[in-house]
Structure formats: structure tokens, C-alpha cells
């Protein structure tokens, strides 16, 4: 059905919102994490069980796939509406019980609880610090369904903008909201919007950046898959406020489901007269194309991204002219992350004051983070900006598991930075993170415990960036491999005195001379670890790795005071280098040890320590 006016839209939204929902619904999580751990099979089994029980339209009981429910680590998850119960670790075999007990019987199945001890999703510590604005529809609306989107408040902002606000007020609401770019830089959205608005006449373009490339990050993916229409409505509002006729959503092709959902959602919106030509009969056109990228990390950079959309090689170019002046095909272009766009409908609908009520003064609103690494509960969290790192790591994340201790948190993707324990008090906002030597990036948080070597971590991320460097400018192309080589030497026992100082000066120069944002931030892994963990670098220069991660650069030693003679280390050792009878404290035989680190990881009491290898010991510098 094509909506011919804002009145038609209002009537349809009212009708859909008033339509009674199902009596009870099982939302099987269809987020990226859960799909990877087998949610599709679980959902299929649940559907099968529903059919077997004769559940269908009239019964008021149903099961659907939802957007990401967040607690990925316990996936596949399922949430029960209206009770709000959260199940986790589901297997297809559980489907019968889920349907007969919960869906029909209305009883909680204790053994399937996602977070033991917490029935309701909202009572789990994982969800306590959260405030879900961008992810509000996950578990409330079927991903990409226009009907559900409209029923849950969707397109209310467009209706308001077209019927009451007009383009100028729509623009002002976004400008006054203080929204900052969610892609990482945190550039004020209002300034970009104003620059586009004041750019010369003619064609203007809008772009949504969905080229999420950071390892371990999947918040943009969850958003595009879980609520594609919020991105599309946000862009439509931008098009209306700024007079842009065409838009592009740039998605990496490794996200086929995102592409599929966005395309389907755009087609549905167009069919309903909410996108395309003559939107809601108001004579305003906005044509949207979903463009697939080839999967190069650098294409997340704005100029490389526009080059890629234009069909050229995805390479950044020297940017002394802003994209809002000359971007795509040299026309004024507004480029924002998909999460920034998804915030726009709520800002327009509820007003800037509402938006500013969440978060802090200079960093209003919420931000989605992917919390991964050494924490008990990993997954996607959406919290008000300004929430402390500790509240996420120890609160939502539940702290470091297996009795290990917290060492560092890596924020902002590969070109972000590693922050030490003191960062737990740091508020998660654009400015505080940048000041501490990390960055917000797209919102990846990787927690590391004391078994992580920060020099090795820097080597890993620098290696990743070497692979992803486009090779256009000399510092990034030639300078990054040089950094990586020195880091590799340090982690393989070939470190030399002065390497740390050398790394520091090279990394600073790389950051100062590189061409694009990727190159300028590519030195961050080195610089931030040097800043906060310099003593580890100094130890590596001398051939010692205190984390017991770099081979041949430590000797495991059992601390007799801590050892409880459990034998876990002995069982884990593949080289039979640990001796000791039952109920006896264990000892390491240095001449047999291969320094694989298995004993360190296996010990539940942190009794196995990585000691400095003796000078001149034959295996001390095995590289």
C-alpha cells in the first residue's frame, strides 16, 4: 500500500500500534553472534515445535527471530515477551520444552536461563547499566519489518517533520542535539549538517557508512541487520532537512545479511511511499542505493569510501577540501556512520532536549559498544556516553573470569589504544578516550587479562594494519612494516636496547606524516602501549616477557605458597616438563620446557609465574 500523505501515515501508524500483539512471543535472537552459534537451527526447531503444537495466528502464541539481544557469549539467546525472561545456550533439542513449557505453559525453564540467577533480562547485571535507544527495537520488532517498525513508533519522526517541523526545524533539532559522529571521530553532526546545508546549490549526497572493519566489532552489523529502517528513516530525514536527493548506504560485502535486510527494508519503504519519488505526496524525492564494498579496511575512511562508491579503487586522497564541499563525484556530501543516522529519528521525534538528557554535556546520547575479550559476559551493550569503562568491564561484563586479573582494555579497534587499570575510572566519551591515548573508534572494547602481553598485542594490531594499509603513502606503506618488524623482534627474543625509544620516535613520525586517518592513527597501538606499559617494552628489550606469552622469553615457575597441588599445569603441559606426584606441589623442569604457556593458562590459582629467564640459559632466547 502506498501512503499518499502524512495523514495516511499517521492513520496507519495508529492502527498498527493499537493492533493487539501476540499473547506471548518467543524472540529467538537473530543477531550476528547468535546466528554464528546456531540460532537459525534453534529457530527452525522452535517453528517446527510450534507447528506440531498447532500454534498459529489465532492462538496468540508465536515465535520470531529478533535483532541482537546483546549477551552474545551465552548465545543462542531467546527472550520471552511479555515476561522479559532471557534464555541462553539454546540447542535445537530445547525447542520442545521452550514451546510447551514457556510459550504455552507460561513457566520459566530454570536450566535454560541465560544468566544463572537472573530470570528477567533486565535483572541481569549485563543489562543494568544499559540504556537501549538505538537497539530499542531488538526483541520488540521483527528485523526489517515495515509493519513492526511503524507499530513501534517508526516513521513518527518523518511524519512530524513533514507535517509540522519543516526542513529548517528538523535541521535545528539535530544541530541542537549535540549528536557527535558515532563512527569514531566524534565530529559534531550539527557542524557537518550545517556545512552541507550552506554548500553550493545542485546535487547533494548523503552516505551512511556501514563498512565496519574492526576485528571483534559488530555493532553496526547488528544495527543494520536488526533495525535497518531506523538508518533509512534517519537518512530520509537528513535528505528532507538538507535538500539531498540521493543517498548511499555503504556496506562491506562480508555482511550479506545486512545488505539483504537493508535492500528489503528500502524496497518496503519505497513501496509504501516513504522513500523514492514524491515521498508521502510532498513532492520531495530521496533515492537510496545500498552499495557493497569489497571489504578493505581502508574503505571505512571517508575519501576511500567515496572513491569506492564511484567505482574506483578504494584509496584515500589528500583532503584539504571537506567532503561537505566536494565529496562524492565532487559534489557536497554528508557522510555519517549508520549509528549516527539511526539516532536521527529519535532526536527529531523527541527533540534535542530529550536526547541531551542521556549521556554527558559534551557527549550526549548513547553508544553501542561490543564488549569482548576476557570478561565473563561478552556481547553488545548500549550505554549512555560517559559511563565508566569499569562499569562495562566489571559491571556488565562481570569482570575477568577464571581468577585472573585485569590488565588492559583496548578501545577503538585496531588503530585504537590499550589502556591500563587506571582507565577503569575513565568515562567512555570521545574526549576522555582521546586524551588517554585511545579513541572511541566505532566502539570496540577488548578486555585483556594478565596473560596478555602488551608488546605482542601491539605487534598483532600493527600486523593487522600492515595487511590493511592501502599502500598509497610512504609512511603507512613502508613505516608500518618497519614498526611491525621491530615489534616482532621484541616478541621473539631478538630485541635490542633502544628498540622502545626507536619505536616511539618512528610511531610519532608515522602519525605526523601519513596521508589519511587510517595512517595517522595506525601508530596508536604502539604509542598507547608504550605510554601505559613501557616497562614491558623495556623487559622485552632484555628478552623477558612477564605475561608468559612470548616464547622462549620467560621460565614458568610454580610458586610453592600458592600451589594447591591440583596438577592442572602438569596435565596441560605437552612437553612433560612439570613433575610432582599426587598431592605434591609441582615443579617445572626448565630444560624440558617449551615455553608454550599452557601451564600458566591452566593454573586456577595463578601459582605458575612467568619468571625472568636466566642470562645465558640455553632456552632463554629460543626464537
Amino acid at each position: 500500500m502506498r501512503l499518499g500523505s502524512t495523514d495516511d501515515l499517521r492513520a496507519l501508524r495508529r492502527e498498527l500500534a493499537a493492533r493487539p500483539g501476540p499473547k506471548r512471543r518467543l524472540w529467538v535472537c537473530g543477531g550476528p553472534g547468535c546466528l554464528a552459534s546456531g540460532a537459525q537451527e534453534v529457530f527452525r526447531a522452535v517453528e517446527e515445535a510450534c507447528r506440531a503444537q498447532g500454534l498459529g495466528g489465532a492462538s496468540g502464541l508465536r515465535a520470531d527471530l529478533s535483532g541482537c539481544l546483546g549477551l552474545c557469549e551465552r548465545g543462542p539467546l531467546a527472550e520471552v515477551e511479555p515476561e522479559g525472561w532471557l534464555y541462553g545456550g539454546l540447542r535445537p533439542e530445547d525447542a520442545g520444552e521452550l514451546v510447551s513449557e514457556t510459550l504455552i505453559g507460561g513457566r520459566f525453564v530454570e536450566r535454560l536461563a541465560a544468566d544463572p540467577g537472573c530470570r528477567e533480562k533486565d535483572s541481569s547485571p549485563f543489562y543494568l547499566p544499559q540504556k537501549r535507544h538505538v537497539m530499542a527495537r531488538f526483541g520488540r520488532a521483527r528485523p526489517g519489518s515495515l509493519e513492526d517498525y511503524l507499530a513501534t513508533g517508526g516513521y513518527g519522526a518523518l511524519e512530524l517533520a513533514l507535517s509540522e517541523l519543516g526542513p529548517e526545524e528538523t535541521f535545528r533539532r539535530v544541530e541542537r542535539s549535540g549528536l557527535r559522529g558515532r563512527g569514531g571521530g566524534g565530529f559534531p553532526a550539527g557542524r557537518k549538517w550545517r556545512a552541507l546545508k550552506e554548500s553550493g546549490g545542485g546535487t547533494r549526497y548523503l552516505i551512511a557508512n556501514g563498512d565496519e572493519g574492526d576485528p571483534g566489532a559488530f555493532m553496526n552489523r547488528a544495527l543494520m541487520e536488526g533495525d535497518p529502517l531506523s538508518v533509512i528513516e534517519g537518512m530520509t530525514l537528513g535528505a528532507y532537512a538538507l535538500g539531498a536527493g540521493r543517498g548511499f548506504i555503504y556496506v562491506r560485502h562480508e555482511y550479506p545479511l545486512s545488505v539483504e535486510r537493508l535492500r528489503a527494508a528500502a524496497a518496503a519503504a519505497e513501496g509504501a511511499g516513504l522513500l523514492g519519488a514524491d515521498i508521502l505526496g510532498r513532492g520531495f524525492d530521496f533515492r537510496l542505493a545500498i552499495v557493497e564494498g569489497g571489504g578493505a579496511f581502508v574503505c571505512g575512511e571517508s575519501t576511500a569510501l567515496t572513491a569506492s562508491i564511484e567505482g574506483r579503487e578504494g584509496q584515500p586522497r589528500v583532503k584539504y577540501v571537506r567532503t561537505t564541499e566536494a565529496g562524492l563525484w565532487e559534489r557536497p556530501t554528508l557522510l555519517q556512520n549508520v549509528e549516527s543516522w539511526a539516532n536521527v529519528p529519535q532526536i527529531v521525534a523527541n527533540g534535542p532536549e530529550w536526547f541531551r538528557r542521556t549521556g554527558s554535556e559534551a557527549n550526549p546520547g548513547t553508544k553501542v559498544f561490543s564488549l569482548v575479550g576476557k570478561v565473563r559476559r561478552t556481547g553488545l551493550v548500549e550505554v549512555p556516553l560517559g559511563t565508566t569503562v569499569g562499569a562495562l568491564v566489571n559491571g556488565a561484563g562481570g569482570g575477568v573470569p577464571r581468577g585472573r586479573s585485569f590488565k588492559a582494555v583496548q578501545s577503538g579497534g585496531p588503530s585504537g589504544g590499550c589502556l591500563p587499570e587506571s582507565a577503569l575510572d575513565l568515562p567512555l566519551d570521545f574526549d576522555a578516550l582521546a586524551e588517554a591515548g585511545a579513541m572511541m573508534g566505532s566502539g570496540g572494547l577488548i578486555v585483556m587479562d594478565d596473560l596478555s602481553c602488551l608488546v605482542d598485542t601491539a605487534r598483532y594490531f600493527t600486523g593487522f594494519l600492515c595487511e590493511e594499509s592501502c599502500g598509497k603513502c610512504a609512511p603507512c606503506r613502508e613505516g608500518l612494516p618497519a614498526l611491525r618488524d621491530v615489534l616482532t623482534d621484541l616478541t621473539e627474543g631478538r630485541g635490542r636496547p633502544g628498540d622502545s625509544a626507536f619505536l616511539e620516535s618512528q610511531a610519532r613520525l608515522l602519525a605526523a606524516t601519513a596521508l589519511c586517518g587510517l595512517g595517522k592513527s595506525a601508530a596508536n597501538p604502539v604509542l598507547s602501549t608504550l605510554r601505559h606499559f613501557r616497562e614491558e617494552y623495556m623487559e622485552h628489550e632484555e628478552g623477558y616477557c612477564r605475561a608468559g606469552r612470548c616464547r622462549g622469553m620467560y621460565l614458568p615457575e610454580v610458586d610453592g605458597d600458592l600451589c594447591r597441588a591440583c596438577g592442572a599445569c602438569q596435565k596441560a603441559c605437552p612437553a612433560s616438563a612439570i613433575e610432582g606426584e599426587r598431592k605434591e606441589k609441582r615443579r617445572v623442569l626448565p630444560e624440558r620446557c617449551e615455553t608454550c604457556g599452557a601451564c600458566l593458562a591452566a593454573c586456577p590459582f595463578e601459582a605458575v609465574k612467568a619468571r625472568r629467564p636466566k642470562k645465558g640459559a640455553p632456552d632463554a632466547r629460543r626464537a
Binding site: Y320, C466, K472, A474, L480, P481, D485, V486, L509, T513
Partner: protein, 286 residues
């Protein structure tokens, strides 16, 4: 390194005479329609048309800024990062940074600039340790190649001048392919470029002399391909490949550069003589 070609080879599509290796003494491109903006380069006052680059302003002041990927006749790319200078407290690539308003103050020899240039050269010299131009710059800036980072000293600094010269000339036979450290100039699929017409635009644009070619017995070899050179109808010297002439199309002649110049001078002389009193009669007598 192979010898210089015996003529000033023109690019495939570039008219003869529009010499490509035209960097030396190249001045500011005229942007006469633009109003002038004033400022300083290293404290020297200078006025340039709005939109001129720091490099152009510096050259007007006779201040030298070293460049590698920059070429007067090609679109700029700003990728070698050697021409960095300091403006508004941060580094900028001189060959692209546009001076838009009066009051600019660029520094081309500040400590930050010199340090940055030394860094860039220390990286590039590991790639092309034997290229005379790189060695000269490295000596000037007191940089020597660090054996620790001599990973692949193949003589190419990936500035892309050859690729841009080829594109500007028309054939677009070669490109920079791959990414990161492994990026290199090549024909499609790593094979000898089929679209190459053997015009030498790439070799002449190359600042390090990486692109090898040879000429023997009327045959030019470049990019693992062989091109027959057409003899000049006047003197018999072989300056252009048959493929190049075919690419230019129409009546492109194989006249070598010096004969072309000589013939043109003769024509001009004729024209001048016709204007002069008694000229036509003189010409008839000749």
C-alpha cells in the same frame, strides 16, 4: 640504468613537443582568473593566485622544497609525503595544500618539517638505495638506509608517477596494484601490459630510474614487450614506435623531434619572410 632515449619521446597521446620530463624550472601554473592572496613562505612575502599551492608559492620565492611524486604535468597525489611543510601548526603536503586566503605563513625548513622529511627519506631510501636522486636527497638530509629495514629494495618508491603519466598519455597500460607493502606497478594480472604502446612516458616520469628499457636494432624493449621503431622520413632516426603512431591515429608522422623542429622552423621562416618587404620575391628566387 639504460641510456637516455635518443629523442624526446612524447607520450602516446601527448603532442610532440609537450615534453613530459618538464620539472626543472617549472614555475607556477597560471591561475590568472583568481585574485591574489598574500602571505609568507619562510618569512619571504609572496602573492599567489588564490588556490595556488605552498609548493608553487615557495618556488616563486626561490625556496626549494624537495618532491618525488609531484610532477608539473600530472595531477598531484601527495603520496610520497616528502614535500611536507608546516602551516597553521601542522604538517601539510606542499604540492597540494591550497592557499585560499591572505595571511598564510608556510615554513619549509622548521625542525618538525626537517624531521618529517628525514623520516620519509629513511623509509624511501630502503626501497631505492641505489637511485641517484634518492641517494642525493638522503645525503642532503643525512639519512642512510638501515639494513634492518631493507626488506625489498627493488628500486621503486611507489610514487605512481609512471601510472599517472601513462594515464595522462592515454593508454592506461599500467597501474599500481595490490596493497600495503606489496603494492607495485604492473600490467594487468602481472603480465606484460597489452595496452602499452612503448612511448616511454612511464620511464621518463620515473624519479628513480626503476623502469628499464633498451633500444637496439630499431627495436625498443620495455615492460617485457618489444616495439618496432619507425624511421624518421627525413633523417631515418627511429624515435617513435609503430604502436605509438597507431595510437595517436590520423596522420601522426614518424618525424623525429629534431627534424620536426627543423621543418617547423623552415615553415616559420617562410611565413616571416612572406611578411617582410621583398620577401616573396626572395623566396621565389630561392
Amino acid at each position: 640504468m639504460p641510456g637516455e632515449p635518443d629523442s624526446c619521446a612524447a607520450g602516446g597521446g601527448v603532442p610532440a613537443g609537450a615534453a613530459l620530463p618538464g620539472e626543472a624550472g617549472a614555475g607556477s601554473r597560471p591561475r590568472l582568473a583568481e585574485p591574489l592572496v598574500e602571505g609568507t613562505v619562510d618569512g619571504v612575502r609572496v602573492a599567489v593566485p588564490r588556490g595556488a599551492t605552498i609548493l608553487e608559492a615557495a618556488r616563486l620565492c626561490a625556496i626549494e622544497i624537495p618532491t618525488l611524486c609531484h610532477h608539473e604535468g600530472l595531477p598531484p597525489e601527495g603520496s610520497c609525503r616528502l614535500c611536507l611543510s608546516e602551516t597553521r601548526g601542522s604538517l601539510a603536503v606542499s604540492c597540494m595544500y591550497p592557499l585560499r586566503e591572505s595571511g598564510f605563513a608556510a615554513l619549509t625548513r622548521s625542525p618538525a618539517v626537517l624531521e618529517a622529511r628525514r623520516y620519509v627519506l629513511s623509509l624511501l631510501v630502503c626501497r631505492a638505495p641505489r637511485a641517484p636522486r634518492i641517494r642525493k636527497l638522503a645525503d642532503e638530509y643525512g639519512v642512510s638506509p638501515d639494513p634492518r629495514f631493507m626488506r625489498d629494495p627493488d628500486g621503486c618508491i611507489r610514487c605512481g608517477r609512471c601510472v599517472r603519466a601513462c594515464r595522462a598519455s592515454g593508454p592506461e597500460a599500467i597501474a599500481l596494484c595490490g596493497r600495503g607493502f606489496a603494492r607495485l606497478v604492473t600490467g594487468p594480472f602481472g603480465r606484460p601490459p597489452e595496452a602499452c604502446v612503448g612511448c616511454l612516458a612511464c620511464a621518463l616520469a620515473c624519479p628513480t630510474g626503476k623502469i628499464a628499457f633498451s633500444e637496439r636494432d630499431g627495436v625498443r624493449r620495455i615492460w617485457e614487450r618489444e616495439f618496432e621503431l619507425a624511421p624518421c622520413p627525413e633523417c631515418g632516426k627511429r624515435a617513435f614506435t609503430r604502436e605509438q603512431l597507431a595510437f595517436l591515429g590520423g596522420g601522426a608522422s614518424a618525424l623525429c623531434h629534431s627534424c620536426r623542429r627543423r621543418l617547423m622552423a623552415r615553415e616559420l621562416g617562410k611565413a616571416a619572410a612572406l611578411e617582410a618587404p621583398g620577401g616573396p620575391a626572395l623566396l621565389r628566387a630561392l
